[in-house]
Symmetry: C2
Subunit: 259 residues, 2 copies
């Protein structure tokens, strides 16, 4: 960011705002847009199209799920390399100087003022926007279920990953566990709980800040991005996973009644 430059505010994008489904879909890494004020962050075009800049395929998958579940979808309009909305402002990953094997030159020397400016321009509008969505539904007597949609790279630090569908939870594991059971029953996806990483790796910030304090059921979905590389593949994956999310909802509702 150039010195003295005022950073505009980047409001989250909300789709299907009047959705009647119980699930609220969240896509923090939907976009690889780097606003003009940041130039290219010193990266090549190839780097800015790779998984370090966003979660390829996640937005398309989220939109497919949104249609099928009549679920409101909120997504961040800016690359995670400028501000990763799934990280608190003091986490190293919020404005990373390095991602996997790539240095991010534009983030190498961030002043306190710039860190503050990015937090105010990107992180706070996103998380407050999500908070508004959730609290408004709670006020109406609904209990939204928060599902964040992510994709992960098939090869990380040179090592292939076998898992295809990871389901991660924050404090309350119930919905994530129910989704894993449903996916194993209804799909052929290699499905794992808390893979390829977990809350212990500080990847559940959105769930922790938005869902857990209200006691809302929640899960973070991670799809291997080679499985959702095209619009057609994203649609097919949404068609596969939407019923799995619904089966999970039925199960946690049954548990709630029994418990």
């Amino acid at each position: 960011m150039r010195a003295q430059e005022q950073l505009q505010s980047f409001q989250p994008l909300i789709e299907r705002e009047e959705g009647r489904g119980q699930v609220i879909l969240v896509c923090e890494h939907a976009s690889n847009v780097v606003p003009e004020a940041f130039g290219t962050l010193g990266l090549s075009r190839a780097q800015l199209e790779a998984h370090i800049a966003w979660d390829p395929g996640a937005l398309g998958l989220a939109r497919g799920l949104s249609r099928r579940l009549d679920a409101t979808l909120i997504n961040a309009p800016v690359s995670r390399l400028v501000y990763d909305c799934n990280r608190a402002p003091d986490m190293p990953g919020a404005m990373p100087t390095r991602s996997e094997i790539h240095d991010i030159p534009g983030n190498a020397l961030i002043s306190d003022e710039e860190r503050l400016a990015r937090t105010k321009a990107i992180y706070l509008p996103f998380q407050n926007g999500l908070h508004n969505l959730l609290a408004e539904r709670i006020a109406l007597g609904r209990r939204p279920v928060v599902v964040t949609i992510h994709s992960f790279t098939p090869v990380y630090f040179g090592k292939p990953r076998d898992v295809e569908f990871g389901v991660i939870h924050d404090a309350d594991p119930a919905y994530a566990q129910a989704i894993v059971r449903a996916a194993r029953q209804a799909t052929q996806l290699v499905t794992e709980l808390n893979a390829p990483y977990s809350a212990a790796d500080d990847v559940t910030h959105t769930l922790r800040i938005a869902a857990t304090p209200y006691g809302l059921q929640n899960a973070m979905l991670e799809i291997r991005n080679d499985l959702i590389a095209t619009a057609e593949a994203q649609e097919a994956m949404a068609e596969l996973i939407a019923p799995v999310l619904n089966m999970g909802l039925v199960e946690i509702q049954r548990q709630a009644k029994a418990g």
Copy 2:
């Protein structure tokens, strides 16, 4: 609220915004103002001046602490009877139909639309305003400590309360415990941990939503309101408690270094 009426937004009041102290003071029950749209909620003037409408003395005490600790203070500008900012929108206490021995006629039949309108007009600006304050400091590398300031009635359901100073914690008890130790050492106040009620009574919503997800140290202070009934008494209490809060900060910093 009269039908079809648009409710204005009530922004929280922020004092000493540039304060350099580590503590952020929060006063959810600072005001007994009932906006005109709500009439008197069916209550008498005496009821609207009593503890059911606000925490008498809490704002004066908070201001005295703010000056002594150079602490930013955020307070709600509307009576807890219209919306209690220390309650989630689905908690019965958010827009109570009854408080202690008093029915609140103006809250007896609240439509979903009005519940939503109050949430958007009062609760969300307050909690998002607090979130902004905290996240901005975190972005600057500071670790704010959240202290909410409350007062309680000396007689509740006809029963006198002996405790004078209650210190309540959410998930992390460290700061509350340190404050209790310091108060017992440095003052004559009858001081108790988690009295006259505790997080189990759902009274720590602000701490739970604003402090706990960021791992911020926090405490909820409860002063018996007969001890802070006048401006002079509020000043005297601030003079007594400010050093106690500082002693507590020193202790948790020592624990953090040792741990």
